[in-house]
Structure formats: structure tokens, C-alpha cells
């Protein structure tokens, strides 16, 4: 795994500077749908220019390079301790090179040591799989969109949301309404129905590993995803909350088992600057292929 650190630095660079094609296509489609001459259209044009400029200059799409979340799938004998040590070194190196902002603050002292490494940063989720390859996916999620995430406990009397799919729909749409333009829309939702307070949010974020144009294999959830996007886009919140046609580019929803006493709906909001990439590595840690 001699090449692992340089591969992870390259993964961080590409994730920070280049928007995945499925996201870019969705943004271009929303630009075509926006009324000409509006400030919403103008915002989307700036966004499109920004995507091109970031790629060309190999610099961050957004200055908030976000929470650094790795998802690693590897064979049974993958040395997770070494991997984590190398990932931390890669994050420090990528920060020195300007692919990441000095973005990690000690919550007790307020000190930002400029490395992006500390308790909880980066976050690394390991999974074993029955293949010799190592796949590393990375999500960089900025603070503006993280702050508009929400977790609801059903029933919710105020929203008249019961413990059923219609109740889930009501609270998800409420989260979109509350977010307005503060999460840098047009956004993408990751939602988990069920789970506990921690796993609910965790699974909601894992939905961002899906492609925007994929379909949910569970018919009820697929229908709910389509409905949430269509209904949200009738609210007129629009890009940046300027008013307009596109409030959401996508909604990805999963379900996890819950306790009889609990019914959480956990909603993570991803900004348009949806930074997600992945690599498949060979045994030396070199990049074999890109996953998105």
C-alpha cells in the first residue's frame, strides 16, 4: 500500500475541485428550466461557470471544503489502523496543498491547528466485502447545508404527521421549507426513515453515495422520492432561495428498522456543490479506476 497516501490526496483533490458528472448534468437541466432574465437563472449561470473554473484551476468548488467523510470497503484482512493513519496524513497534505480549507476547530478551545485532523476528523467508515479490491468513497459536506439538516420524531402534532408514509412526506417537505435557500440550493436530500437518532442521520448521509439519476428499488420509496422532488419544486424557493423553478435536484430515501417506541425521520441536506467521488485501488494502493 505504498501508494495509498498519494492516491488519497488525489481523491481529495478531485472531490474538492470537480463536481461529479451526474450532479453537473442535473444543474444544467435546472438552468434550462429557469425563467430567462431572473436572478435565479443568473445564480445558476454563475454556478455553472464556477464548476468549470474549479476544475480548470484544480481549486475548491466551494471554500467550505466541509466535513471529510470516507467510506472504505475492503477485504477481510485490510489493516484498518494503518489505513486510518495514512488517511489522516493525506488529509493534512491535501490541506497544505490548498485542496481543503483549514477547516477543523477544537470545540472546547476554539483552536484551529490548520491540519484538519482531530477527534472525529476525518470520519472513516469501514466495511468488509468479499473481494480483493479496496474501494474508497469520499464525501465533502459543507457546514451551510449540514446546519439545515433536521430530525423529526413522529407523530408530530404541529405538522399533523402520523407514523406512516404520509407523515414522513409531511416532515420531509417541512425540512425543505425550513431550509429555504440557507443550504445553498438547489439541494439534494438524503433521508432515513427509522433507525435511532445516530444511525438515522448516518444512513441519511449514506444516501449521498447514490447517483442523482438512479431509481430506488423499493417502489414506495421510489414514489416518495419523485413526489418530494416534484412537490418541492412547486414551492418556488428556487436556487439560493431567490424564488424559481428548482428547489431540489434530487431526493434519496432509505428505510431502517426502528424500535416500536421510536419513529425518526432523519434528513440530511446536500448543497448544489455536491462533492462526492470514489476510487478502486490495487494492492499497492494505486488508483485503478474512478467510481463516479
Amino acid at each position: 500500500m505504498i501508494e495509498l497516501q498519494s492516491s488519497l490526496v488525489e481523491l481529495i483533490r478531485k472531490t474538492s475541485a470537480e463536481l461529479p458528472d451526474d450532479v453537473h448534468q442535473a444543474i444544467l437541466k435546472s438552468l434550462l428550466n429557469e425563467k430567462k432574465g431572473t436572478i435565479a437563472e443568473s445564480a445558476l449561470k454563475i454556478i455553472d461557470r464556477n464548476i468549470a473554473l474549479a476544475k480548470q484551476k484544480s481549486q475548491p468548488i466551494c471554500q467550505d471544503t466541509g466535513s471529510i467523510i470516507f467510506y472504505v470497503s475492503g477485504p477481510v484482512l485490510l489493516d484498518q489502523i494503518s489505513f486510518e493513519t495514512t488517511a489522516r496524513a493525506a488529509v493534512t497534505e491535501a490541506t497544505k496543498k490548498g485542496f481543503l480549507r483549514q477547516n477543523s476547530v477544537d470545540s472546547l478551545t476554539g483552536v484551529n491547528d490548520g491540519t484538519n485532523v482531530g477527534p472525529g476528523s476525518p470520519a472513516i467508515h469501514f466495511h468488509q466485502h468479499l473481494a480483493p479490491t479496496i474501494e474508497v468513497r469520499l464525501i465533502l459536506k459543507g457546514g451551510g447545508c449540514e446546519n439545515v439538516g433536521a430530525q423529526y420524531s413522529l407523530p408530530n402534532e404541529k405538522l399533523k404527521a402520523n407514523r406512516d408514509l404520509d407523515g414522513c412526506r409531511k416532515v420531509i417537505l417541512d425540512a425543505v421549507l425550513q431550509a429555504q435557500g440557507k443550504g445553498c440550493g438547489p439541494g439534494i436530500l438524503g433521508v432515513c426513515i427509522g433507525g435511532d437518532r445516530a444511525t438515522g442521520y448516518e444512513f441519511s448521509k449514506q444516501q449521498f453515495l447514490r447517483k442523482i439519476d438512479d431509481r430506488n428499488p423499493i417502489p414506495e420509496l421510489d414514489q416518495l422520492e419523485t413526489d418530494i422532488v416534484e412537490t418541492s419544486n412547486r414551492l418556488g424557493i428556487g436556487p439560493m432561495g431567490f424564488g424559481g423553478e428548482t428547489t431540489l435536484l434530487g431526493a434519496k430515501i432509505c428505510a431502517a428498522n426502528r424500535l416500536p417506541a421510536s419513529f425518526f425521520v432523519s434528513i440530511s441536506y446536500m448543497c448544489w456543490a455536491y462533492r462526492r467521488q470514489g476510487v478502486s485501488l490495487n494492492p499497492q494502493g494505486e488508483i485503478n479506476s474512478w467510481l463516479y
Binding site: I39, I47, C62, N103, D174, L177, G181, K182, C184, L235
Partner: protein, 191 residues
């Protein structure tokens, strides 16, 4: 497109209306969460940081030192402004600000301060860190770098044709309040 150069006059700021697209040129200062809390608690500014008739930009940029030792901004979009709502109105009044640049809009207390003091809220496109960094022609100084850390420091930047939209003006109009009202009504019909 309206072009404005800093320092602003009250007259020029009061002429702006919600929805106006503006390009700004001149010196601006970044200031976000730590700076707002610090100023609100009575913290003082070095004499070089003169906010009067100028702008505070809610931004934590990525800034690199080039081989000659000069600072260079490589990414600089706005951060979410609503977090500064507890402090912003007072700071507008105390420091004579004519403009705040950020994203996502602010609340009633800031809107009231914009009206009474002659200030507007300029919305930059969130996430557009490269387009906006291209409009920054130089870094003149940095303050509180060690104490607050790079994203929270006060960076004095010179900007050239920096694109923004007025979303809160000095006549009590707010696009954010308007969109919240229309979208709340639209959602009530969809449930």
C-alpha cells in the same frame, strides 16, 4: 447592472431595491462567526480595519502564500449569514456599515438596522468560490489570524466587479421574507 465603488454614500445605498444586481469594487473586510461575537462583546478593531461606509463579507476564504510570500485567495464564497443575526444589527449601527455580503439572508433585526442606519444586504452565490475568488485582486492585510484561525480571521481584500444581488434593502423589503411567505402558502396547498 449597477456598479458601486467603496466607500459608499448613504444616498447610493438608499437608492438600491430588492432584486437589483450589483457589481462592487474596492476594499472589503471578511468577518464571520468569531468576529461578530467578538465585536458584539465590545472587542476593538485595529485602526487599519475601517468598516465605516464599507462592507463586511461573511466569508472564510481559502488563502495560500505564494512563493514570494504574498497571500493569494484561492476560494472565497459567502457563508450562511443567519448565524450573525443576534449581532449584525448592532454592528451595522456601531461601525457605520453600508453593506453586508453573505448568503441565505438575515432576519428582522438586521432589516430594521438596514432601514435606520442606511445599509443593505447583498447576496452572493453560495458555493461559487472560484467565480468570486477571481474578483479578488489582492489581499491587503490580515488581522487575528493566529487568535481566530484562517477562516475566522479578518481579511482585507480588494475586489473588482464582485457580483451580488440586493435581497434586503433599506426600505424594509426582504426577498427572503417574501419567498418564505409564498413557499409556506404553496406547501399548505400541497399537503
Amino acid at each position: 447592472m449597477i456598479h458601486l465603488t467603496i466607500p459608499f454614500t448613504e444616498e447610493k445605498i438608499r437608492a438600491l431595491k430588492v432584486g437589483d444586481a450589483v457589481e462592487i469594487s474596492g476594499p472589503i473586510f471578511t468577518g464571520r462567526d468569531v468576529v461578530h461575537k467578538y465585536l458584539h462583546e465590545g472587542g476593538t478593531l485595529p485602526s487599519e480595519v475601517n468598516l465605516r461606509d464599507g462592507i463586511i463579507y461573511h466569508c472564510g476564504p481559502v488563502v495560500m502564500k505564494d512563493p514570494t510570500g504574498q497571500w493569494r485567495v484561492t476560494a472565497a464564497g459567502p457563508t450562511t449569514s443567519i448565524r450573525e443575526e443576534p449581532y449584525q444589527g448592532q454592528i451595522i449601527k456601531d461601525f457605520g456599515l453600508r453593506g453586508v455580503i453573505g448568503k441565505g439572508g438575515m432576519g428582522d433585526r438586521t432589516l430594521e438596522a438596514c432601514k435606520s442606519a442606511g445599509c443593505v444586504y447583498f447576496h452572493a452565490v453560495g458555493g461559487a468560490a472560484q467565480v468570486l475568488a477571481e474578483c479578488i485582486t489582492s489581499v491587503k492585510s490580515v488581522h487575528f489570524l493566529k487568535e481566530f484561525g484562517s477562516p475566522e480571521a479578518i481579511w482585507e481584500l480588494t475586489v473588482e466587479r464582485f457580483p451580488v444581488v440586493v435581497t434586503m434593502d433599506s426600505h424594509s423589503q426582504s426577498l427572503h421574507r417574501e419567498v418564505l411567505a409564498t413557499s409556506t402558502a404553496a406547501l399548505a396547498k400541497s399537503l
